[in-house]
Symmetry: C2
Subunit: 234 residues, 2 copies
Amino acid sequence: MPDATTEAPLLGHEVLAAVLQVRAGSLQVLLWQRAREPHMHRWSLPGGRLRLDEDVEHSIRRQLKEKVDVRQLAHVEQLAVFSAPDRVPGPRMVASAFLGLVPSDNDPELPEDTRWHPVGDLPETAFDHQAIVRRARDRLRSKLSYTNIGFALAPPTFTVSALRELYSAALGYRVSATNLQRVLSRRGLLEPTGDTTRPGRSGGRPAALFRFADRGMQVTDPFAVLRPPAAKSR
Amino acid sequence: MPDATTEAPLLGHEVLAAVLQVRAGSLQVLLWQRAREPHMHRWSLPGGRLRLDEDVEHSIRRQLKEKVDVRQLAHVEQLAVFSAPDRVPGPRMVASAFLGLVPSDNDPELPEDTRWHPVGDLPETAFDHQAIVRRARDRLRSKLSYTNIGFALAPPTFTVSALRELYSAALGYRVSATNLQRVLSRRGLLEPTGDTTRPGRSGGRPAALFRFADRGMQVTDPFAVLRPPAAKSR
């Protein structure tokens, strides 16, 4: 019989979320400021301990409720497990980290200790939370290239020019509106609503409004050429 | 002060790996047969308990060593956390699941209790291991479409026809060799070695040999058109 304390230790398990939104032209993350040691005054990701009666997906949604109206989360997915033995001081704690996305037309009410911070200009963060934010940003950037995840950053309808601003902020470089429209339309992700912006709203001609064809995650398969004929139709 | 037993429970944490390989024309997974209750005689994924002095990545590599020569793993990545409260009988146990890939030219020596099983025709599996195998298969299939992950299924050099067999087995449908070569070459993933198979080996003309340009994971960005000019060159 192996020694249970070294062979089969019991550990704490916490869930954490990097909730991202494009705000004021930059990709931002929701952080709250710690009021206690350890890492007092540093900025933390929302989350907390996993309970015995819930899985990590239920736990993160329950805990995010304390910080933000979760109906405003258009997408939540597992990001990775962060499990370095020394990631937090004191007893061992493993973290299941999530990526959450809020569309740009929402402005959730926040508790007093909580604020949005540009991902590219973070304040002093607690524990390994900066690494988690970077991982979330990288996941979002990758998924913008091979999925329809843009739906979770965008309002229900938008002009191509507004969408270009969202993609540029999330990707961290200037995207061409023409290329963006071409790529997304070719993949069947984008469809015109048939409406336009009201004339004169932006001082120019009315612009066509678009929406994402699906508002649930799908891999937009550039390998479609390899798919069996039955699957090609969608 | 909240009640520590409900608010901040200590849990067991295990790591599990779905190690996949294309063998005899089908995608197969490495399973070992349990010799003890619970779920005696059912087939399980390799893995075990996380130790206090290791993170999940070190733990899975340590534990896989007991089943398979880990030098034969061309790729290992985190898959997901499986955390349903009742996923195993007895005390609560959270699992960090991994995907591992073995190139088709390896034939690892296995312990007596361990065998390859076709993913599409699994024996009776223990706990939630069938769901983990399915998730691993789906992750591999997705990544075949938007990354160069084929390198981890293929031998160092191969004919397009051999690569087509690997992709067809992993994807679960027949892939066209012409399309496969066109897609992978256009993305710069595939390069000719300059060599050919020996004449007559397959009873026909010698076939050109190829290799993957990189044998480390990269997202093969179909959105390259959106990249800044500096990044386009690679």
